[in-house]
């Protein structure tokens, strides 16, 4: 039988295997590097210096958002609490927890740790580009809940980004705010359910959640802007 395949093909399977392997390995690495939650916009979930659980603090203990993010309703920025806010409680509770060691190092003078007095560097999860001037107070005081943009933070063991925060996503709501408007009392309530609210408040005279949204929009005189200068200046 004649040689159908010339000699040089002997190494071909090996070559193909090596190439395919490299490509597959590269793809796996690329996927790991670019496509895991760490690298995503939605689902970005970096590890924090202290594994703070919103679930424990908000859902189980019932802390209000504004205990820590105290200036969310008065300032453009929603502040991240300083060490002293954590220390208010944690100098008394969970005093032995190893997870809180970085906080104790920074706040407990008796430990004489070199980090004493230094801030904790939290990894930023939600980041608007530098040319976007988003204002928290303009939203939470007008009936837009934390939940609308940040998702069910009360259920998050580790915070991740729940929504894309792209301009199109912002405009979606600016064009139809009725889908997200809540009574001001319910803005920080993560267990809010529009239907329950309607059934508890028959005096409002609304039947569906859409009706409620439209009523609130009119009541609060909400006319969100779509002009560039609203966020870019």
């Amino acid at each position: 039988m004649a040689n159908i395949f010339p000699r040089w093909t002997n190494l071909l399977p090996l070559k193909i295997a090596v190439c395919a392997g490299t490509a597959a390995g590269g793809a796996a690495l690329a996927l790991a590097y670019y496509a895991t939650p760490k690298a995503q916009v939605v689902g970005y979930q970096p590890a924090q210096p202290i594994p703070f659980s919103h679930k424990i603090h908000v859902d189980q203990l019932g802390l209000d958002c504004r205990y820590c993010h105290s200036f969310v309703d008065v300032a453009g920025h929603s502040n991240v609490p300083g060490n002293n806010t954590c220390w208010n409680c944690h100098q008394h509770v969970q005093r032995e927890s190893p997870k809180l060691q970085p906080l104790r190092d920074r706040m407990d003078a008796t430990l004489k740790h070199p980090d004493f007095g230094k801030p904790i560097e939290w990894v930023r999860v939600h980041k608007a580009p530098d040319y976007v001037y988003f204002n928290h107070s303009a939203h939470v005081n007008r009936g837009i809940s934390c939940q609308s943009c940040h998702g069910d933070v009360d259920q998050m063991e580790v915070v991740y980004q729940a929504e894309s925060h792209s301009m199109g996503w912002c405009l979606e709501c600016h064009r139809a705010p009725e889908n997200h408007l809540r009574p001001l009392e319910e803005v920080y309530n993560f267990n809010y359910d529009a239907e329950t609210y309607i059934s508890n408040n028959p005096q409002l005279g609304v039947k569906t959640t859409e009706e409620l949204g439209l009523k609130l929009k009119e009541q609060f005189n909400v006319k969100p802007k779509e002009a560039c200068a609203t966020c870019h200046h």
């Binding site: 590097y33 995503q40 300032a75 920025h77 300083g82 930023r124 580009p129 204002n135 001001l184 200068a229």
Partner: protein, 1131 residues
């Protein structure tokens, strides 16, 4: 590549005003035409420079190809960078991240203090604004606005120097301790002219040094004290003055005498806030006698042009008629017919307004003029309680002069000197005093200063001074109100010491220097001292808290004084007699510079880049010469010619090749080679040289001289202009006579003149009317008012039709916000053309400086362009307002020369006018500039791709292009901008701290322009929404029952101010919500007759409108028929 030219209709016969910006334009060279018609100045849009030419289209494509190929490897942009949130460890009270806090503080000045409100973000001061609560509120000028930049300046002095070399703090402390312990030290203290109560109290305690002596020195403080007495000054209340005479006193510009708001309020015939019907009788009248244009001269209703040395003769003539002829018997009487008539008219007006006028003598004038001004004021009964002038005694009494100091050093009565003056005596003291030689005789000299200037290098010790926003101090304002200087931040550098801290160190027994923060728990020693001083005025915690909150203590005033004519009056007057200057014996006037003052601001980039209000020269000084004198000296043609011929590379006669010829000025036995410029409205045979420049040169200098004193200045101040201080003598420090000037052949110096940048053209750009009927068919005041809207093309242009539909596809209006519609008006009647708004805008909106080379190319980034026009009445008119033709020659009759040589000075600030029908918006290919529903023409920087079509289509030339990454790469480092990513990006460690966090820092290739401070508007609107919620919650109602109407969401009337409006000392800018209608000052200003739209006839519907300038001439003055007609046409 020139732009389509607008063909204007024929000029009507009654428009006889001739207006121009520059000598080149007046001569109407073809080069100027071409310049005018271009979209950008030549070179601004191209890379013409050798260094720039490295990037050809070809190499650009190569690079682009390579970068695209390489982009695949990194993909770094695909991965989200890890950023950190760093909260406070112990959150301080009152600090809300992202929200500004406002504190009252003040900036000590030679005339007193400028009360300020400082904006601070997380403890980082970024902006100053005037404190309007202060009884002596005076607005802010460009210096006050720019002072914030000095705090973060990279060239600021940071380290202690010992004999000009870096030294250890411990050695300095040893030296201080030695002095402090020696009770018999022969010590002298040299203070500045500001009046700090604590410093004056400590001065008493410093007498522990039994041989201590105290002096005061500032380079340009003048000789008023000789006439008024030690520490006595006259403070004007302009609101009470119906007539004001300025004898060479630039009281609205660099020669500050106190708050000028009252003056400007009375320049508006409708009164403050446009509250009343226009009434010319409420207006004041300003007479100005001066040699060269100042801002005050520009505001004057009547201006007399006369050499500075001859001002005394005018003063004498007034005094002869109003005070005592005996007083001025030695002075010759006026001979010039025009001058005699001018003074006659003035004297009659002053006599008719006894007790309601102010006569001010300029600080540059010799003591004689101050004596005469005092005599006239006394004779007119202008001084006293309830009168326009009050005489007071300040706390700065018993201080010697710099001549006394020199004598004391020479006599060995002083061997240790502590220099606290903000001036720089080794550089700016009169040359014949030879202060440097005496200075060397000192055993120890301690210099406290913010710059490592000449004095810092010569002194045995230089201590870096803390900025006023870093130190505790106090000061007394013009009328003596106790004002606190509150620090906003600890000194940025550890070794920075404040004036009081240094004095307190010397007062302590051990001489221990404590600066900035004291040891744990203890307040700063300066704080304790300031509090102690205040305790003597008002005791108790509440009063102190109030002082800190309001910035001043009401009711604290200077003691009144009763000035009399001094005994030296006749001697001083005799000394002031100087022969009139001639072509061969010129007069050199040493002027205060509006960018560097006496030289102390030379390292401030904002001030250096803001063009001089009169000459429009930035980054340098130059000798200013009247056109006729220049012709007589044979240099006029040279100046005009060099604007064109030498600039062959760029046919515009502008750009980087624009050069001015150098002239050689010889005076007082010294010579100075300096660039020369033509200056209009200047007295003949005078040369004006602004002081304060030429402090140091390095290898890059454009004069081709050897580097000298380069370490005295920083990046901004190096190679700047020419130093005229060596020409000054102690006898006449502000003017020198007997000078000669000659042209230096084939020597020229590049100048960055901005007067033709962004030249608009059109008719009746700046409009002016007069309060009197002047027989030219324009009618009386009311008639002229009614015609304001119909000047220029607006008299006959057809009614505008909207070019673009104001509705969307569904027929809904595009500008549809029912809450706010923003608008602005600029009152040319009170705008004087200073640069306060321009610098304030730069501070608020993160506008970069671009450097001299880039300015010369027309790439300056200022969002506000301060246009300056000269306008004159060239032709004589008959009673119908028509030109008169001479039968014989067939030419039109011209007005007398004294009219034509004294053109009106017309400033006009132009920023984006936010056209409702904006030409820029329709040409943007990427929708980066669009309209907002509340009427703003907004810029989305992140969308802009830099085509510059918008700038091309803007008839107001209000748009700027970031040709380079000016914000990132310091343009002051030679060739840095052309190095691209290899360029130096970090200069100094602090400049970024000044940035306003609420405004995007723009990058290369992005267009930008005025936004009406949209960040402030947004902040105000959101604050209002928040307040409405709080109110509802307090009422206890559920939110679903809350009533939210337009009224609750609309911000209160006149509650938001743009940065320029806030800064303006003249309240010329009014901003607000058009929907507030007549409730707001803006609404009222839009309704009055003076309101007109710039380039109305092209139908852009601008939101910024202008109010015509009103001149209030005296009909008995010889120049009255020519005043109030400077409507500017640029065709």
């Amino acid at each position: 590549m020139s732009k389509r030219i607008w063909h204007h209709p024929e000029v009507p016969a009654d428009e006889t005003t001739v207006a121009w910006r520059s000598a080149g334009q007046l001569e109407d060279t073809p080069e100027f035409r071409q310049w005018l018609e271009r979209e950008f100045p030549q070179g601004a849009a191209e890379m013409t420079d050798e260094t720039e030419a490295e990037t050809s289209r070809r190499s650009f494509l190569k690079l682009m190809g390579a970068s695209t190929a390489l982009a695949g490897f990194g993909m770094a942009a695909c991965r989200r960078p890890e950023k950190h949130l760093v909260p406070y460890s112990q959150a301080p009270e009152w600090v809300i991240p992202g929200k500004a806090t406002y504190y009252a503080s003040a900036m000590p000045r030679p005339h007193g203090v400028t009360p300020l409100v400082v904006t601070s973000f997380e403890g980082r001061p970024t902006k100053v604004a005037p404190n309007r609560l202060h009884p002596d509120a005076e607005g802010t000028d460009a210096f006050a606005q720019a002072s914030i930049l000095d705090l973060y300046s990279p060239s600021r002095s940071k380290a202690i120097l010992g004999s000009g070399k870096p030294a250890k703090r411990s050695d300095l402390e040893k030296a201080l301790a030695e002095i402090a312990k020696n009770k018999f030290a022969k010590i002298g203290f040299l203070f500045g002219a500001d009046d700090s109560p604590t410093r004056n109290r400590l001065r008493g305690e410093l007498k522990k040094f039994t041989n201590a002596r105290f002096y005061q020195y500032e380079a340009l403080i003048g000789e008023a004290a000789k006439a008024l007495g030690d520490g006595v000054k006259l403070i004007p209340d302009f609101s009470k003055a119906d007539r004001i005479v300025s004898l060479d006193c630039d009281f609205v510009g660099t020669d500050l005498v106190g708050p000028v708001q009252g003056f400007f309020e009375r320049r508006k015939p409708e009164g403050k806030g446009y509250a009343n019907a226009p009434d010319e009788t409420t207006m004041n009248r300003l007479y100005c006698v001066e040699a060269a244009y100042t801002l005050t001269g520009g505001m004057a209703d009547h201006r007399l042009r006369i050499a500075a040395s001859q001002v005394v003769k005018i003063a004498a003539q007034i005094a002869r008629r109003l005070a005592s002829p005996e007083l001025v018997k030695d002075l010759e009487v006026l001979k010039d017919d025009h001058q005699i008539k001018w003074v006659q008219g003035l004297v009659a007006d002053l006599e008719a307004n006894r007790g309601k006028s102010i006569v001010l003598a300029g600080s540059r004038q010799p003591a004689a003029v101050h004596h005469l001004a005092l005599a006239i004021n006394l004779a007119l009964g202008n001084i006293g309680e309830g009168k326009p002038l009050t005489a007071v005694t300040t706390g700065n009494t018993g201080l010697g002069t710099i001549s006394d100091l020199k004598a004391a050093i020479d006599a060995k009565e002083i061997d240790t000197l502590v220099l606290l003056t903000p001036s720089n005596p080794l550089y700016d003291a009169p040359a014949d005093l030879d202060f440097a030689t005496s200075f060397k005789k000192l055993k120890t000299s301690i210099h406290l200063g913010q710059r490592t200037d000449a004095t810092a290098h010569a002194a045995t010790w230089h201590i870096p001074a803390a900025h006023y926003l870093e130190s505790w101090s106090d000061a007394r304002s013009t009328s003596g109100i106790h004002t606190v200087v509150q620090p906003m931040i600890l000194p940025l550098y550890d070794d920075c010491v404040s004036e009081l801290e240094l004095l307190l160190a010397l007062l302590s027994d051990e001489g221990k220097l404590i600066n900035g923060e004291s040891e744990e728990g203890a307040p700063s020693p300066a704080y304790t001292a300031v509090r102690e001083t205040f305790a003597a005025i008002a005791d108790g915690e509440a009063a102190w808290k109030n002082l800190l909150r309001e910035g001043f203590h009401a009711g604290s005033k200077y003691e009144p004084a009763a000035p009399k004519l001094a005994g030296t009056v006749s001697a001083d007057i005799a000394a002031a007699v100087v022969a009139e200057p001639t072509k061969d014996s010129l007069e050199v006037i040493f002027a205060t510079d509006s960018s560097v003052y006496d030289g102390r601001w030379i390292d401030n980039g904002w001030l250096q880049e803001s063009p001089d209000p009169i000459s429009k020269l930035s980054w340098d000084n130059a000798a200013l010469i009247a056109p006729k004198t220049a012709k007589a000296l044979g240099i006029y043609d040279e100046i005009i010619a060099t604007e064109n011929k030498r600039a062959l590379g760029s046919p515009d006669g502008e750009g980087e090749n624009r050069k001015s010829p150098l002239i050689k000025v010889k005076v007082n036995g010294k010579t100075l080679e300096i660039a020369a410029l033509i200056s209009f409205g200047q007295a003949e045979n005078t040369i004006v040289i602004p002081l304060g420049y030429g402090q140091g040169y390095n290898e890059e200098n454009q004069l081709g001289i050897n580097p000298i004193n380069a370490s005295h200045v920083g990046l901004v101040g190096v190679n700047r202009g020419f130093n005229a201080y060596p020409l000054r003598t102690a006898k006449t420090p502000y003017l020198a006579t007997g000078a000669t000037a000659s042209l230096l052949k084939k020597r020229a110096y590049p100048v960055a003149l901005v007067q033709e940048h962004g030249s608009m053209y059109g008719r009746a750009l700046a409009r002016e009317i007069s309060t009197i009927e002047s027989k030219d068919h324009k009618g009386d005041f009311q008639a002229q008012l009614a015609k304001v809207k119909y000047q220029g093309n607006d008299s006959h242009a057809p009614k505008n039709i909207y070019l673009y539909k104001p509705e969307d596809r569904d027929g809904q209006p595009l500008i549809n916000d029912l809450l706010h519609q923003w608008g602005m008006s600029i009152d040319l009647s009170s705008c004087m053309g200073c640069n306060a708004c321009l610098v304030a805008c730069q501070a608020e909106n993160n506008i970069p400086i671009v450097g001299k080379e880039q300015v010369a190319k027309g790439r300056e980034m200022h969002w506000i362009r301060m246009d300056r026009y000269f306008a004159t009445q060239e032709y004589a008119l008959d009673s119908h307002g028509n030109k008169i033709k001479d039968e014989k020659t067939g030419e039109y009759q011209k007005n007398p020369e004294w009219v034509r040589d004294n053109p009106a000075f017309v400033p006009q600030p132009v920023a984006c006018v936010h056209c409702e029908s904006a030409p820029c918006e329709v040409v943007c290919p990427v929708n980066a500039t669009v309209h907002t529903p509340d009427g703003l023409n907004s810029m989305a920087y992140n969308r802009c791709i830099g085509t510059r079509y918008c700038a091309n289509n803007c008839p107001y030339k209000a748009r700027r292009c970031n040709c380079f990454d000016y914000n990132k790469r310091n343009p002051l480092i030679a060739h840095n901008l052309n190095k691209g990513p290899l360029g130096e990006t970090k200069v100094g460690d602090a400049p970024h701290l000044q940035r306003n966090p609420n405004v995007t820092v723009r990058m290369r290739g992005v267009m930008e322009k005025c936004t009406y401070c949209v960040q402030r508007l947004k902040d105000a609107v959101i604050r209002q929404k928040r307040g409405q919620k709080q109110e509802a919650l307090i009422a206890g109602k559920p939110s679903t029952e809350m009533e939210v109407t337009t009224a609750t969401l609309r911000i209160p009337v006149d509650s938001v101010k743009t940065a320029c409006q806030d800064a303006c000392p003249a309240e010329a800018i009014t901003f607000g919500n058009l929907l507030d209608k007549e409730k707001s000052a803006l609404g009222r200003s839009k309704e009055i007759a003076r309101n007109y739209d710039l380039l109305n006839y092209i139908g852009t519907r601008p939101r910024t409108s202008y109010l015509a300038r009103v001149k209030n001439p005296n009909k008995d003055m010889p120049d009255a028929p020519y005043v109030g007609k400077a409507t500017v046409h640029m065709v």
